[in-house]
Each structure stands twice: as structure tokens, then as C-alpha cells.
Subunit: 310 residues, 2 copies
Amino acid sequence: MDGKKDRVLIIGATGYLGKRMVKASIALGHPTFILYRPEIVSDVGKVQMLIGFKMQGAILLQGSFDDQESLVSALKQVDVVVSVVAGNNTLLEQLKLVEAMKQVTTIKRFLPSEFGMDADRMGHAIPPGDMVFINKRIIRRAIEKANIPYTYVSANCCAGIFLSGLAQLENFMPRTDHVKIYGNGDKKCVWVDEDDMAMYTMMTVDDPRTLNKILYLRPPSNILTQMEVVQIWEKLIGKELKKIFLTQEEWLASMDDLTPYIQVALTHLYQIFYNGDLEFEAEGPHGVDSNDLYPDFKYVTAEEFLKRYL
Amino acid sequence: MDGKKDRVLIIGATGYLGKRMVKASIALGHPTFILYRPEIVSDVGKVQMLIGFKMQGAILLQGSFDDQESLVSALKQVDVVVSVVAGNNTLLEQLKLVEAMKQVTTIKRFLPSEFGMDADRMGHAIPPGDMVFINKRIIRRAIEKANIPYTYVSANCCAGIFLSGLAQLENFMPRTDHVKIYGNGDKKCVWVDEDDMAMYTMMTVDDPRTLNKILYLRPPSNILTQMEVVQIWEKLIGKELKKIFLTQEEWLASMDDLTPYIQVALTHLYQIFYNGDLEFEAEGPHGVDSNDLYPDFKYVTAEEFLKRYL
């Protein structure tokens, strides 16, 4: 350790998780680089976000997946790459990034766009939600084949998306009247505040304990079933919600009228809340639990999070 | 003065200017109320913005223009209303707000959604950009007829939209190669940082000097022609840009292939940079100049603003 923090390049910095990654990277003292596409100049909101990052100390680099030279040039200036690009097609475009890393050879760690469920445990996922996992696995295998040092951050469920609405589709504020319960609401989920996701991620980029590992974010107080989460909310508002219990068949049958994007969300909720796909311990040769590595980190608990919505 | 700050209701708080109004209102110590539509619960970004406002101390009130009772209920809790709704149809929906204010009768000041050029000076504006001014005038006349105390803030040109790209359409970062110049580039424009717009607005909500007046935001260093702005940028980058001079006829002819939204922007640029519609002194019985009222306010100068983009 020479006392200098690793230089971090963030790709997808103006996105939902990206803006939080920038904040966390700067907060932890990493020299922070941001790749932005030339087309972004016509998006006034994104330009202003970029300029805001710059005013906080980030360094802006123009480039895109369509311009291999720009990727190589950016990679030469940094130690670590954190990708938070979203969308199925964009996920696969990370293959171009892997190619550029093979060429540069000096990247000390690559964190590809993950930050959800562990793709390698989701081989059984149903369509259309399975595509996300399939594409993430393709990227993982390309990284491993190229011998690029990596960490896969399995961040589980974004609190602002899942917890905010008590796991209801397209509803990001908790209701005070009724709630749909998946099955008996008894499958464990892991609810993680997005700012915490970013802090865990940036704490781990130079942590030798997560080199070539999967880091599972598992704040212990936030490993809760849907029913437990509903009960926290009921206690906060001092009122019981009406529960509408949905069988697996009813839930999956509701898919037909939805947009493709929402269908993906519906199947992911199925995996978690009916199939119990987050009910495992973070063990094995490749998995590490955030709570073993960073037990003192003051994460936002589910109750603290829900209090904001009172 | 009882030492208590006026309570401010902001309508359109999650929008481009709205989020800045919230920040300024809280910064100046106003008890700050935010009206949010029930439909917003399905917009994860806007919900998170609202929760962020709440965590900074704002009070969230559910309501909408379609629910007169919700408007009346919200108005009863505040002294001042600042509307920053956008879009032509939404501008006219403010008539419902005027109706609710007539019913409540205790509103001490209404600042309708203005924050651009002075609509009453724009009777000659060409279509389709004229619709914005027509609708703003309809709202002004309804306010005056109902004897609601008002201030119209004529904020002139948003720096993040106009200055950031040297007044080029759909380009919000200044180029380093070439720039299109309107006519000779010699018409004065007034370029105002958006955060400053919000601060001026919140400074004026309880200022007796702007009661029933038009407040023109005119930071003296920022009353500059397009050519003067280009020269500031050229000095900053140490390089001359290639200038492409466009006649009025060429500029208006380029409208045909544009979307309706961009056509509006094009005609507004025409008004300012060919017709010189911002070349007037803020005098007369109804107009007051921000620099006469708030000469000590440290606004962002055009040069400081452009430095951020280096």
C-alpha cells in the first residue's frame, strides 16, 4: 500500500445506481473518472449531472462502447472499473469493455454491471426475467476467460424499488390501506438501500478479500420476509393493512397485459417471493458475505428506511 | 414582521426548476410544502426526489389540479404559492389554482409559472413559440381579475440550457470547434444560472417591493450578446471557434424537420437573438430590476458558469 487510493472509472454514471457510485467513490477518496457518451450533450439533465460530478472533483472522459479507442484510452488512466450500465443490450456491450481490458492489461479489478441477484444461481429463472441473468453470466464467463481480476457484487434488492412500496409492482410509496402478499409472504428477501450498495461497492474495489469473489450484500437486519416488512410498516403507521394473498398461479397469470419491462419485474418478484431464490447462505469458495467483511458499516435498516415514508 | 418566515407551497417541485426552488426555499428558512400528484408513486425517480425533500425538512401534501378539494386544503396551510409547472396544457391548469385561491382568500402571494421572457412584452411572438406567452398571459389576467397578490418573475434565459451550449439547439455543452451565430450575434440576452433563479425567487416571495410587480432577473455581468459569450468561452479554452453565421431566413427555414418541442425552442431563440426581445430596460410602473433590489446577491457570472465546462 503506497497510501494512494485506486483510481476508479465509472461507466453508466448518470444512471440510477451510477450517480450513487460516483458519490461513494468521491466520498471514499478515490480519484474518480467518468466515461460519458458524446450523444449526452443533447440531454440537459444528464449534462448537468456530469457537470455536478465534475464540480465535486470527478474527471470526465468522453467515450463509448462504439469507440474501442476511447475505451482503451480511458482504461489506461485508471486501476479499477465499475460498470453500472443497464438494459439487456447494454449489458452485453460490456464484452467490448472486456476486449479493451485484455488490450490494456493493467486493470486491477473489474466490477461488471451486476448489483442484483447472483446470476450463477439463477439458471432456473423463468422468462422474460431470465435474460438479465443469462447476459450477466455471459459477461462473467468472458471476464474469467480473459483472466481479468473481478468482483461480482450481488447487491440483492434495491430498497428504493422493492422496499419503498412493500414489494408492489409500479408502486414506490408504501400504501396505508392494502397490500398484495405473495404466497404466504414468508420467503426471505434482502433489502438494501441504494446508497449503501454504492458504499459497499466502493469499499470493496481495493479489498484483497473480494478479489475474484462474489460479494453478497447481506445487512443482517434487512434479511426479512415480505410479511415481516409489512409488519414493520404497520407498526410505524399504527394500523393493520388489508392483505390480499396471491397464489403463484394468480401472480403469473397477471403478466399478460403488462409491458415487457414490467413483465421482467414480475418474474423477478416471482423468483424471490414464491421460489425463495434469495434463501441461501453466502458460503462456498467464491462467495463472501458483506457482514463478515464490513461488520461495522452503518447501513440503513429496513425500519429506518421505511420511516422516511411516514 | 413577527420573525416567522412565510410558508411556501411549491407546485411542480420535481421538475427542472422545481427541485431548485425547494432547495432555495429550505435554504432561506421558509417552511416548505410540496404538492405531489398521487400518480407519482409509480415514478421511482420522482418518489425518491420527494423523499429527499422530506428528509431535508419539506412537508409533502398529496393533491392535483384534478382535485379542487386537495388544492384548497393545501392552500389553507401556506402563505405563498410558487408554481413551476411546465408544458402548455399544464400552464393553463393553473386556472384551477386561481379558482382555489379565490375560495381560500388567505394567500399572500402567488408566483405563477413564468421564469422566462416577460409574456406581456411578447404579443408579437411568432408560432409555435407564442403559445407559451399566450397561456402565461391568460394566467396573469385571471390572477389580476381575482385580485390575488402576485409577483411575476421574468427570469430570462436558463444558463444550463442557453449558456451551456453557447445558445445552440439541443446541445448543452460548449463545443470547441465551431458555433452557429444568429445574425451578427449582437443582440443582448440575459443568462441566469438556474440555482440563482430559485434564490432570487425565494428572496422575493415576502418582499413588499415586488408585490404585484414583474421582477426582472438581470445580473449585470450576464447581460451579454451571443458573440460576447462566445468570446468568453474562446478566452477560457485559448482558441478561436469557427463561426457559422446564419441569417434570420436560414434559421427559420431550418424549422421544418424539427419536432414541435424543438420548434418552440427555435422560435424563442429567434425572438431573443434576431428580434432582440430582451433588449429593454426594466422600467415602468410594474417592472423592477433584481439588481436594484438585491445588489449584494452573489450570482454566478457567465464566465464562472462556463468555467465549469472546461
